[in-house]
């Protein structure tokens, strides 16, 4: 039975917003979707356990390809570990911007982990480079033929620069994996879009499964108000971000606000990545939203006048300032350093513009913790204001429903969310779309049975014969088509039975039956014949009944002859003769004639 199965590598996607790594088996092909790293762990648990995929044998032999949806580390952070340390040499697909930006973030993270924290058993710079050599960049909507049967196609996902949803297709069976996506355009990116591709399975993220977020505009106003108030009272605002993505959206927001309000307080962007990051946005401007794309010649939105590079020394400067610092979850690096400096002053504010993974400082302060144990048992008291603003571009419940409406999947599978919220959404989806909705736990396999139709080559002669019949006035009744399916070397051809015989070099064997039917009729043979003809003609209105000059009668291809009985004058013998192909009619005629001829026709 054809089926496909999806399997999240635990602890990973499934019901947790930690990292994504999903294995899909479809029509005998194995595809790994994303290869994320868990930011909340500092040990082996940060990488997926790839021994789940195959206990023995190389990953390269087992996996047909790997697809990376976007450059966030919870979707691609384990890639060098996977390809270089565990060992995988097959193709890895991602979009051009992802291919450009992903190695930079990986290197950045590697530096923090290895060079600053001194951890071992981590991938090296060279491994990142070698890993990226295995990457094949794909265009949006390009059909990439991975091998003869397996093809993949990328769709725009919004979320971050270069984020894509992927359709994976083998024959008639297909899966769509959304990665992270955003159904409403924001200040720098467009909305996700997919065509009515009717996949057997849609694997959707569900980070914001139950939230139906208030309008973007409100959130933006709120954000600007908080930043403005803090700066006005001389406080410092820390906005922990990842170098690429939300950072650019918020920069555009603050830049235009500063311009309009004529504000003077400095805005800084913390890492050396800034300028580089903005440069990527300039070069990949075709991936941003329509407004930015249209006006980029006159005004490039990623050239900021008010936002300047940050120097570590500025953190101690007196007076108000706004600082964007990486990383976004306050788990390491410069954002954490600045946070420690500013946390003690209640005039200051930290705004968390995105989701924080459990275990990070960001998650702790968002859940209300005000005393943090830092390295070396030191206790940090948080007096600064802590604000959370959902700016990360994930689809909310409305968006997820919208995507399902666009793609019309036969089954939906929710990943990357919290169990309770997912359950609510699952019910909603099943109610509205009447499709099965699954929400597997980490490490759980979901099997979905598909019903693929089988494409076959039909000989044009046979098809034309049938469509010609279909055009007859009696087209209401479905017409039956008869033919022979030749199956050879995985190719299927439907031809007429005659052609099938001919192609195989076989002669037809004719099987004929002739039955003797005795009826009482003293008349001459030809008179009996005429009676038979009239009788049949009256009953078989839809058939071609003919009386031939030699006295015999045909009903379609069945031949009937009336002969005298050798002994009994009052009895006539009807010889009814037909081929095996006309058995139904032949056998029907004999039983009909056996009942005798009606008197009235005499």
């Amino acid at each position: 039975i054809p089926h496909l199965s999806s399997f999240s590598l635990g602890p990973g996607a499934g019901q947790d917003v930690g990292r994504s790594c999903i294995l899909v088996s479809i029509a005998g092909k194995n595809v790994m979707l994303d290869c994320g790293m868990h930011m909340g762990y500092n040990d082996d648990r940060r990488f997926p356990d790839f021994s789940y995929i195959t206990q023995n044998g190389r990953l390269t032999d087992f996996l047909d390809c790997v697809i990376i949806s976007h450059f966030h580390l919870d979707h691609c952070g384990a890639l060098p570990y996977f390809s270089e340390m565990v060992g995988y040499d097959g193709p890895i697909y991602m979009t051009h911007p992802t291919k450009a930006i992903c190695p930079i973030l990986l290197e950045d993270y590697r530096k923090i982990t290895v060079d600053k924290k001194g951890e071992t058993n981590f991938f090296t710079s060279q491994m990142i480079k070698d890993c990226m050599k295995k990457v094949v960049a794909v265009h949006l909507h390009q059909t990439v033929q991975v091998d003869e049967e397996l093809e993949i196609k990328a769709y725009y996902a919004g979320h971050v620069l270069g984020a894509a949803m992927f359709q994976i297709k083998v024959g008639c069976e297909s899966v769509v994996y959304t990665g992270d996506y955003n159904m409403t355009p924001d200040r720098h990116l467009g909305a996700a879009w997919i065509d009515k591709c009717r996949p057997d399975l849609l694997i959707s993220e569900s980070t914001y499964a139950t939230t139906i977020r208030d309008s973007k505009r409100c959130r933006e106003r709120d954000f600007l108000k908080k930043v403005h108030e803090t700066v006005e009272r001389g406080g410092k605002v820390l906005i922990p971000v990842f170098a690429l993505g939300r950072a650019q959206e918020l920069c555009i927001l603050l830049e235009t606000f500063w311009e309009r309000m004529n504000l003077k307080a400095p805005i800084y962007f913390s890492t050396g990545l800034t300028e580089k990051a903005n440069h990527y946005y300039k070069l990949f401007i075709t991936w941003t939203n329509q407004k930015i794309r249209k006006t980029f010649v006159q005004r490039n939105m990623f050239e900021f006048k008010h936002i300047k590079a940050f120097d570590r020394a500025y953190a101690d400067n007196p007076g108000p300032m706004v600082v964007f610092a990486t990383p976004g979850m306050l788990h390491a690096g410069q954002s954490l350093q600045i946070f420690r400096k500013w946390a003690g002053n209640e005039k200051n504010m930290v705004i968390m513009p995105g989701y924080c993974v459990q275990g990070t400082v960001g998650h702790k302060i968002l859940s209300g913790q005000r005393k943090l144990e830092m390295e070396g048992r030191q206790i940090l008291e948080v007096k600064m204001q802590v604000e959370y603003m959902s700016f990360s571009a994930h689809a909310d419940a409305k968006g997820i429903m919208q995507l399902i409406r666009q793609a019309e999947p036969r089954n939906v599978l929710l990943v990357h969310g919290e169990a309770k919220k997912m359950e609510f959404l699952k019910q909603k989806i099943e109610q509205e779309f009447h499709v099965n909705c699954y929400m597997p736990a980490n490490g759980e396999t979901t099997t979905i049975f598909t019903n693929p139709c089988i494409p076959v080559d039909i000989s044009l002669g046979l098809l034309k014969r049938e469509t010609a019949i279909g055009l007859l006035p009696d087209a209401k009744k479905p017409k039956l088509m008869h033919g022979t399916l030749i199956m050879k070397d995985n190719s299927f051809r439907l031809v007429s039975s005659e052609q099938a015989l001919k192609e195989l070099g076989l002669a037809e064997h004719q099987l004929r039956f002739t039955c003797r039917v005795h009826i009482q009729d003293p008349r001459k043979e030809h008179e009996t014949g005429l009676r038979v003809y009239n009788h049949l003609k009256a009953i078989l209105k839809d058939y071609s009944v003919q009386h031939l000059p030699d006295g015999s009668i045909t009903v379609e291809s069945i031949l009937i002859q009336a002969t005298a009985h050798s002994e009994d004058q009052g009895t006539k013998v009807l010889l009814v003769s037909w081929t095996y192909q006309d058995e139904e009619l032949g056998s029907y005629l004999t039983s009909l004639l056996k009942k005798g001829l009606p008197q009235s026709t005499a």
Partner: protein, 658 residues
């Protein structure tokens, strides 16, 4: 399947393909060589042009002297330049379903087609093609609209009058079809009908046909197209290049297994080597500037100019040209330079790698940053303040009939220190220069045409092996000026089918199969039988559904169960109907084994007689006779249905069903 050929220009094609109930237009090139018959449009009053004498017929009649002017022995139309459109009468263009564009040079007639013919379909093109095509159109409209011309000449087009004119006006074709330039609103309306597509994107048309653009290596976003059904494949090759310049390399492999390959857009200068031409361009440029002269490069605002700027970037320091200003003047100069940097995904590998760093893919970004290259929308405004000589000016239009280039021709033409270097191959440089004669300035002809030459074509055809090649007639004979060069034509087997303007070709292919889908429940019901090793057969009886050109086979509906009532039925109720017919049979029946089988099944009185062709098996008590021959079996019995059925089944055991 038919091909309607609407353009006779081999590099500006316009063909319409009728393919499986869809009507597909392939490109809509605009032949602008017609503008060479017109006087240039000067940006500032040109005393020289306005003083040109009117043309007088041999018999002294002067009725055309307002419309036609004479300059150095050539006659020009003094009117707004006009373009030669593709044929619009050969077929009803409102029936065109889709238009496929292969590159930005081949879409210049688009507004005439989409806005004037009742066209309601969709246009498909890649994003760079659309964006740069828009720039080319904008520049064209701008350069013609900014020089309003009061006069619109039409008398000369009268057939009787045209006969009297000197060549080339006398021989100009379809002058009644020539049209003035479109307007920006028409351009915008036309471009709004374009749907942007990516390389290797499969686009379904009405379920019957799939079209796919492939990289053609000639320009940013340039594409060849595959038009295919499940069983026919037409490749449309238009403007392709195998040279390594800035665009993504040509995808050749996907052109394989074509039934028909339509080949257009080959190099217009088959004897010139583009690399050599670039070298000559640089050295002529350097020499002129060193001698204190100015260099004028008439060009399009996109395309080869990127490569020239890149060469100059590498060349200027070593040639000591660091202090010479380079000016790029076009209403779309800035846009063109900016757009070139954002299409990373459409560039060659080297340029893509630069974007990953991230650095701009083209070095003209650095030329601009260091002030070596300056761009201006026109000669008016800032340019007049910054203008320093000697300098190098890149500007359009290459026909020298409109655009800022006209101004520089008038300005620099009188000095032999200056040089005009022709790099664009679309116009004969001698014809382009004709209304400026007599000229003192030097003229250098370095045509750079990176499109396929005949050697490359012959290699390509050997590689992809199409069953048939279709091409413009110009490619089936040597160029008229080099009739001995039989190497400058397409050489393939079978010989190509050629077309000319306003011809209709019947494309030669026959298909034998069509795709059909078997629904899963029907597939489950099939009983395959292995007939020969590796070959299995199954008889199929199914209901055929055809919708949107897609065929599906479904399980036939179960016949309604006859009610098991004991009422007397009318005899006709029993008439068999709609049941699947019996399969064909094959094989033969070995008589001895057959007799054994009969005996095993309770026939004790079996008697066998030999006949000429086989045997007769007699069942005496049942008064039944079975004739066995090589390819036939005949059972003759009384009307005893159970007996007949039993015998039938025994016979069938020995036969295969189809």
């Amino acid at each position: 399947s038919f091909q309607y050929c609407l353009s006779g220009h081999p590099t500006l094609p316009c063909n319409v393909l009728k393919f499986k109930s869809t009507t597909i237009m392939l490109d809509c090139g605009l032949d602008m060589t017609s503008t060479l018959n017109f006087l240039p449009l000067p940006l500032v009053q040109s005393p020289r042009l306005s003083k040109l004498p009117g043309w007088v017929l041999k018999d002294g009649s002067t009725f055309l002297d307002k419309e036609l002017k004479e300059c150095s022995g050539h006659v020009f139309v003094d009117s707004v330049p006009e373009f030669c459109l593709p044929e619009t009468e050969l077929l009803d263009l409102s029936t065109v379903d889709v238009i496929l564009i292969s590159n930005y040079h081949c879409m210049m007639a688009l507004p005439y087609i989409t806005e004037y013919t009742g066209f309601t379909g969709t246009v498909y093109a890649t994003e760079p093609t659309v964006q740069i095509g828009r720039l080319l159109m904008e520049e064209l409209v701008n350069s013609i609209e900014r020089v309003p011309k009061a006069q619109s000449a039409s008398m000369w087009k009268n057939k009787e009058v045209q006969r009297l004119l000197p060549a080339p006006l006398k021989d100009a074709v379809e002058v009644s079809m020539w049209r003035k330039c479109y307007t920006m609103p028409e351009v915008n309306a036309a471009l709004s009908k374009i749907q942007m597509v990516g390389y290797s994107q499969k686009i379904e048309l009405f379920g019957a046909v799939q079209v796919t653009p492939l990289s053609s290596g000639y320009a940013l976003g340039s594409s060849n197209w595959i038009i295919q059904s499940h069983y026919e494949k037409v490749s449309y090759v238009s403007g392709s290049s195998l040279l390594t310049t800035h665009p993504q390399p040509m995808d050749q492999a996907s052109l394989k297994n074509s039934d028909v390959l339509i080949l257009t857009g080959l190099t217009q200068i088959p004897t010139a080597n583009p690399d050599g031409m670039v070298g000559e361009f640089c050295s002529n440029l350097a020499m002129t500037v060193r001698n204190g002269g100015n260099v004028l490069v008439p060009c399009y605002p996109s395309g080869v100019i990127y490569d020239l700027l890149e060469c100059l970037y590498q060349y200027i320091d070593s040639a000591g040209l660091s202090n010479v200003p380079f000016y790029f003047i076009s209403p779309v100069a800035n846009s063109s330079l900016e757009f070139s940097q954002i299409f990373a995904e459409w560039l060659c590998h080297n340029k893509q790698t630069k974007v990953y760093l991230p650095e701009p893919p083209f070095p003209h970004a650095e030329l601009i940053q260091t002030n070596k290259l300056k761009h201006y929308p026109s000669i008016h405004g800032d340019f007049s303040n910054d203008f320093k000589q000697p300098c190098v000016v890149f500007t359009g239009h290459p026909s020298l009939r409109f655009g800022d280039v006209v101004h520089f021709m008038e300005l620099w033409g009188k000095s032999s220190l200056n040089t005009v270097i022709f790099t664009e191959p679309d116009f004969s440089y001698l014809d382009a220069l004709a209304p400026y004669q007599p000229l003192a300035m030097k003229c250098v002809y370095c045509p750079i045409d990176t499109r396929l030459n005949f050697i490359q074509v012959s290699k390509l055809l050997k590689e992809v092996q199409p069953l048939h090649v279709v091409c413009p007639e110009q490619y089936t004979q040597p160029p008229p000026t080099q009739s001995h060069r039989t190497d400058l034509m397409i050489d393939c087997q079978p010989p190509p089918m050629s077309y000319r303007r306003a011809e209709v070709l019947t494309l030669p292919y026959k298909r034998r199969y069509e795709k059909i889908e078997i629904m899963p429940d029907l597939a489950d019901s099939l009983v395959p039988l292995e007939i020969k090793p590796g070959i299995s057969l199954a008889t199929v009886s199914a209901v055929l559904h055809t919708k949107d050109n897609k065929h599906v086979l479904q399980l036939p509906p179960k016949p309604p169960q006859a009610p098991a009532s004991k009422k007397r039925k009318r005899v006709s109720d029993d008439v068999p109907e709609g049941k699947p017919p019996k399969p064909l049979l094959s094989g033969s029946i070995p008589v001895e084994q057959f007799v054994q089988t009969l005996e095993k099944h309770g026939f004790s009185d079996v008697k066998v007689e030999d006949t000429a062709k086989g045997h007769i098996v007699l069942l005496q008590e049942a008064e039944t006779l079975i004739q066995l021959e090589e390819d036939s079996t005949h059972i003759i019995c009384d009307n005893d249905e159970p007996l007949r059925a039993k015998l039938r089944d025994l016979v069938l055991k020995f036969l295969q069903k189809f």
